[in-house]
Amino acid sequence: MSSSTSTHSSRFSQLQMNRAGLWLFFVSEAFMFAGLLATRFALLPGERPELNQILGLFITVVLLVSSYFMYRAETAIAHDDKKTFLSSTLIAMIMGTAFLVIMVFVEWPTAHFRPWDGAAGAVFYSMTGMHALHVLTGVIFLLIVYMNGRRGVYSAESHWGVEACALYWHFVDVVWVFFYTALYLIGTVAH
């Protein structure tokens, strides 16, 4: 086996170990979010909190589209397209921030209940609060990747940081797919 093949093989093995480790982290996080989902259905069987449906749909679209742009960013850097990588990462970061701002400064203050207002309040704020914390850390991660990208840290041959960030961002999006359905769509409005 030649030296370059051996190097590539060990780098690929390390990359697969990195990926496996990150996915194991996602599995552990999934248990925590699944617990919150189970609590929601246990405390509000057949019902859902009264929420702003248009706002919920809007922020869901924002997060989904931000995920698309992060996919674009990762694909771009994998093919050494640094310009598309940077612009797409920036857009994903801006959209993620928008999701966070709208949730915390629009949805929360205008909701018909507070965290201490019974099951609906407890469920809504604990679920969206925990998710928002993950979105915040995701936005920070995106910022770090963006700054590193501007410094030329990443390339087609070496961009694990970008891949890890993208995977984390998509995981946060997957969580919201289930949380949005559980909080805004499933069940009839609880008064």
Partner: protein, 73 residues
């Protein structure tokens, strides 16, 4: 040439995925209002959306199938 084609194909896959996600999101919004928030169809749509994100955006198959597609970064 092959690299450029791969990139175009991957970008196209991403675009098709987000379009599908938008359609499914609209569908689940409609199901919620038309079927009084029925648990089973809405959960199925959510699982479909999550599956799409994990398989396309998160390249889940790269981890499950130990395949070296040349991007040993």
């Amino acid at each position: 040439m092959s690299n450029h084609t791969d990139k175009a194909a991957e970008m196209r896959a991403g675009l098709m995925t987000i379009i599908a996600l938008a359609v499914f999101t609209g569908l689940e919004y409609w199901v919620s209002t038309a079927m009084n928030g029925a648990f089973v169809p809405l959960t199925l749509i959510a699982l479909l959306k999550a599956g799409l994100i994990m398989i396309v955006f998160m390249h889940m198959m790269k981890v499950l199938t130990y395949t070296d597609d040349g991007d040993g970064h």
